[in-house]
Amino acid sequence: MLAAHLDPLAASLFSLMAIASLLLAFIMLGSRWIRHYLYAFAAESWLIAALSAAVGYYGNYPELYLIAILTFLFRGLFLPYLIFRIIHRLNIAREVHVILQASSSLVIGAMAVVFALTVAARIGAELGLSGTIVVLALTVMLSMKLIGFLMLTVRHEAISQILGLLVLENGIFLGAQILVPGMPLLVEIVILFDLLIVVACFGLLVQYLQTHVGTTSSLALRRLVG
């Protein structure tokens, strides 16, 4: 497998990109301004696109170049643009009610990373791959997943929840590039298109939410209980 015997330069390049995306997830977690989330998400997607290209180059997977371009176009430009338009139209700048202070969510996020590292180290040891980039990729994959769920829980603006879901998927994308670069192309292309549909759905729903419920905060969604 590619990740097990990489040359040192490639390994450190991949590590750098993975860690930078994790840091961007923390920026999303620590800020209350919705625009910051969006910029961080776009930057994260660009990093993942660059990572795809790098994996394609070092591992000789030419189809990954195509995925890199698609990721950059759809997840890096088109999705942020759509969300930007929705933010602009809805005229919301930041989370008004905070369930958890930024500092506390950062600490919880850090604990999530430690947990992810424990799991990843255990799996790495099982496979005899301790100390390789595999452990790092698994850590970043799992911790971005956990941070995404954390964002879904403590944020309640509709836009933040959409971005939280996208972070969930970004984590999987990033990990999959390093761990299973040979995963059938069809799947990855369809996932890209699938995300487009998701955003179209969300765009519609956000509009519905505002016209019919009068707010885009999920705190107001409390009619259906029990």
Binding site: M1, L2, V119, R122, I123, E126, L127, M141, K145, G148, F149, L152, A158, Q161, L165, L168, E169, G171, I172, G175, A176, L179, V180, P181, G182, M183, P184, L186, V187, V190, I191, D194, I197, V198, C201, F202, L204, L205, Y208, L209, H212, V213, S218, L221, R223, L224, G226
Partner: protein, 494 residues
């Protein structure tokens, strides 16, 4: 080759209907087209079931698999699709929105299409995409009535289910990775390939991947504690949509869990996954029992009953063995029939009395004698009383449980089923026989379009309860064999 033709008919009929509906955009035409599509799908599903008895067949470069489990789940979905399409004709006219009706039917056929083809996907990745598509299409159906409640339900539905499903994607990637350590970096990720790789793959990795997949698809199945979207989505969509969500969609997602269970069984590490599945099933029953007893909304009552029955099916597959699998599969069909009947009844009662609250529905027995008797029979059936089909399947699952090492789960299941029986029928006693406090007079008659599908669900249910055909036993035995033979929860060797 026969089976491939039937599968094609199942996929093409709704697809062509969608295109024609979008082209004509007339409510009356859309109604008819959808009905015709469902009338084609149903016999094709039965023929498909017969055609795959010889063993699994693979089509279209290995992307489509026609096997017993998939065909069975397709049959469950096709039954609900047919009944719900008939019911929709009567029910949707009451909404009095003729302009949006064609859009409704296009979405409805699309939703049926995704649930019908999902179980036939041979690639774990494409199966995930099919399940995600069901969510996308059905969100719009849940939000169709545009009331604040339906939009709230749709929002919770898409957020909770997408979040859960993304865990299943992570699990899928990890499964592929585990396989790639055996086969090399690129291979077709079919179910068969995963099962071949499993014995040589790393067990810790497989366990982690399976647990992620179980939580992910478990969200879609509505197993507690990931069921939170289910009562909202099922109660706020139009009644035919609720029937399709409950009777067809939940089974489609369950198929994925069962297929992955076969993979970990092949690796010989099925004990922990089965135990987790049994615990999730038991928790679902417990949560459902608590919420059924104190429920106030009529459709929410039905929704929690779905959580209950998905818990029962999870217990059946968790206990495993030929008996557990046969019981769970039989329960799938019985539940699909019965839950359609219940949602149809709830929808009609809701429209006639103009309220979703159990408190507002009174004296059903006197106001609608014929319809009331039918709905009441369904309520007796869904609580697992004889002589209906659910009694037979629940008893089989209980027997499988008593033979397994998880006897506690079987005993808990028996106790909770009794609690649910009392709680559920108490609501019906109040609705049928208690006099109304404020005299609310229900309006209008219940149309024939709405009553006929209820008969269409009740009669087969009665037949399946009185007579469990030998053909089905041997069919279930074939499926159980294909899923890994006689692997069951530890200590259950028959």
């Amino acid at each position: 080759m026969m089976a491939g033709g039937f599968a094609l008919a199942i996929a093409l009929a709704p697809a062509v209907a969608i295109v024609l509906i979008l082209l004509t955009r007339r409510a009356a035409v859309a109604e008819g087209l959808n009905l015709v599509a469902s009338a084609i799908v149903f016999p094709a599903a039965i023929l498909l079931l017969v055609a795959v008895r010889g063993g699994p067949q693979v089509y279209w470069h290995g992307y489509i698999i026609l096997d017993g489990l998939g065909a069975w789940s397709v049959l469950c979905a096709a039954v609900v699709y047919l009944l719900a399409s008939i019911y929709a004709v009567g029910y949707m006219r009451l909404l009095d929105e003729p302009r949006r009706l064609s859009r409704f039917y296009a979405l409805f056929a699309g939703f049926a299409l995704t649930t019908l083809v999902g179980p036939l996907m041979n690639s774990a990745g494409v199966y995930w995409i099919a399940i995600e598509l069901t969510t996308l299409v059905s969100t719009f159906l849940v939000a169709f009535e545009h009331a604040p409640e339906s939009i709230e339900a749709a929002w919770k539905y898409i957020i909770v289910v997408s979040g859960g499903i993304s865990l299943a994607l992570l699990g899928t990637v990890l499964f592929y990775w585990a396989g790639s350590l055996v086969f090399g970096p690129s291979y077709a990720m079919t179910w068969a390939a995963l099962r071949d790789a499993a014995p040589r793959a790393n067990h810790a990795l497989l366990l982690l991947a399976f647990l992620l997949v179980l939580i992910g698809y478990g969200t879609k199945v509505g197993l507690a504690p990931m069921h939170t979207w289910l009562p909202d989505a099922h109660s706020e969509g139009p009644a035919p949509v609720s029937a399709l969500l409950s009777g067809a969609l939940l089974n489609t997602a369950m198929v994925g869990i069962v297929r992955y269970l076969a993979v970990v069984d092949a690796a010989g590490i099925g004990a922990l996954p089965r135990a987790v599945l049994v615990v999730l099933g038991a928790v679902s029953l417990l949560v459902a029992a608590l919420f059924i007893v104190r429920q106030r909304g009529i459709k929410r009552l039905m929704a929690y009953s779905s959580v209950e029955h998905m818990g029962v099916i999870a217990l059946g597959f968790g206990f495993g063995g030929p008996l557990g699998i046969a019981g769970a599969l039989y329960h799938m069909l019985n539940h699909s029939l019965n839950k359609s009947l219940m949602f149809f009844g709830a929808g009609s009662a809701m429209r006639s009395y103009g309220t979703k609250n159990i408190g507002g529905i009174r004296m059903v027995a006197r106001r609608f004698p014929a319809f009331g008797a039918l709905w009441l029979a369904g309520a007796v059936a869904i609580t697992g009383a004889p002589p209906f089909g659910l009694f037979a399947s629940e008893l089989t699952i209980l027997r499988a449980g008593m033979r397994s090492s998880a006897v506690w789960a079987a005993l808990l299941m028996a106790v909770l089923l009794i609690v649910i029986f009392i709680g559920f029928l108490n609501h019906f006693r109040i609705m049928y026989f208690e006099p109304a406090a404020a005299d609310r007079v229900p309006s209008g008659q219940i149309s024939l379009w709405c009553v006929v599908p209820m008969w269409g669900a009740l009669l087969p249910l009665l037949a399946l309860g009185l007579w469990w055909p030998d053909v089905l036993w041997s069919y279930f035995a074939t499926i159980a064999h294909a899923l890994g033979g006689t692997v069951a929860l530890a200590g259950a060797a028959p």
